[in-house]
Amino acid sequence: MAKIVAGIGSSHVPSFGPAYDGRKFEDPDWKPLFDGYVPVREWLRDTVRPDVAVVVYNDHGSDFSLDRVPTFAIGVRDIYEQADEGFGTRPLPPVKGDADLSWHIAKAVIYDEFDLTVCQEMKVDHGMMAPLPLLFSHDPDWAVRVVPIVVNVIQHPLPTARRCFRLGQAIGRAVASYPEDLKVVVVGTGGMSHQLHGERFGHLSETFDRRWLDLIARDPEELCRMTHEEIMAAAGAESVELIMWLVMRGALAGGAVERKHLNYYAPMTTGMGLISLAAA
């Protein structure tokens, strides 16, 4: 049977891309970010050894337009190309999917009363690609297969924080009912505090971010009670994408969790957080 063995929360800041591709690992302004990922990447590679990563992210107007905005979508492909976000694409191999597992999850979760949009065509943007190479090796090919879960955090009304947590719980049940022996890690991406528009551009809140990093492990119920307004007022309009971490947390909710790693750095306009949780 498939089993969820770990959860990761990670920012997906676009600037990770050029910094990573430009190998700025020792650049003093980037080192605090990249150093934080090293123990998590090694832990995943050497201890957790997942076969599949369920990656919860949002598209940023790269592959999904505003014509039709799904609240929740799932990719059901065996391969995902990168979306062109306006600058061309990055020198990374295409993401490997797991169509069989994706369809299994789609079926289980839809029958469990979550109203997914099922995508046989889909490209992935920095929401997935910013953190993915920091977490998993990709040379010559990706070390994990990916099941992408896409959440609308762009056009309000967004799903509630609690609904995201519940989607995670449903994904947890779906994975547990998959007959193949697979180790699955769930990655919730986005945030932390940031605002990218208006006179309030650049707003940060380390206080909020630290509180989130504490509660996501210890008391996700308190985060589920937060409204979009509360999150946006405290941590910036675009920080609301943090609700995607609750999908990850919900997927782990069946058992106890242990926090393994924590990193936080806020050099420019986004709180860059990283947390890893082991399923007990």
Partner: protein, 126 residues
């Protein structure tokens, strides 16, 4: 900033967070064609066409005259505040016109790029 004097336009919602223009249905409706134009710039051929002749490119979309004018002026604040632009879409317009996100942000804050960078902790991480 004076929210009273220059708050959201009529018909656009105010969520009560200063300097913040939440992209909800009121903005998505107003900005639909604007964001569609910006989205089209994910295609390299469209980027070339836009760079070659902005006016002709804009004419292919049903923008209002005020929206076109805000694009001409690279007025990122007006595009997101008054014209329904979503920042992730509008960012593609920035890319196609050579404006990086932090330049766009400085302008939205009413600062120079240098002034804005002075407010940041580790300016190299950009």
């Amino acid at each position: 900033m004076d929210e009273k004097k220059d708050g959201p336009q009529a018909g656009l919602s105010d969520w009560g967070i200063p300097g913040t223009y939440i992209f909800d249905h009121t903005r998505s409706r107003v900005g639909f064609e604007l964001n569609k134009l910006a989205y089209s710039l994910t295609d390299p051929q469209n980027r070339e066409a836009f760079k070659k002749d902005e006016e002709a490119y804009m004419a292919r979309y049903g923008l209002t005259e005020a929206q076109k004018d805000a694009i001409r002026r690279r007025d990122w604040l007006a595009l997101t505040k008054h014209h329904g632009g979503n920042i992730y879409y509008i960012y593609k317009l920035g890319a196609a016109t050579g404006s990086g996100l932090y330049h766009m942000g400085a302008q939205m804050r009413g600062e120079t790029y240098e002034q804005f960078l002075e407010t940041r902790g580790a300016k190299g991480a950009r």
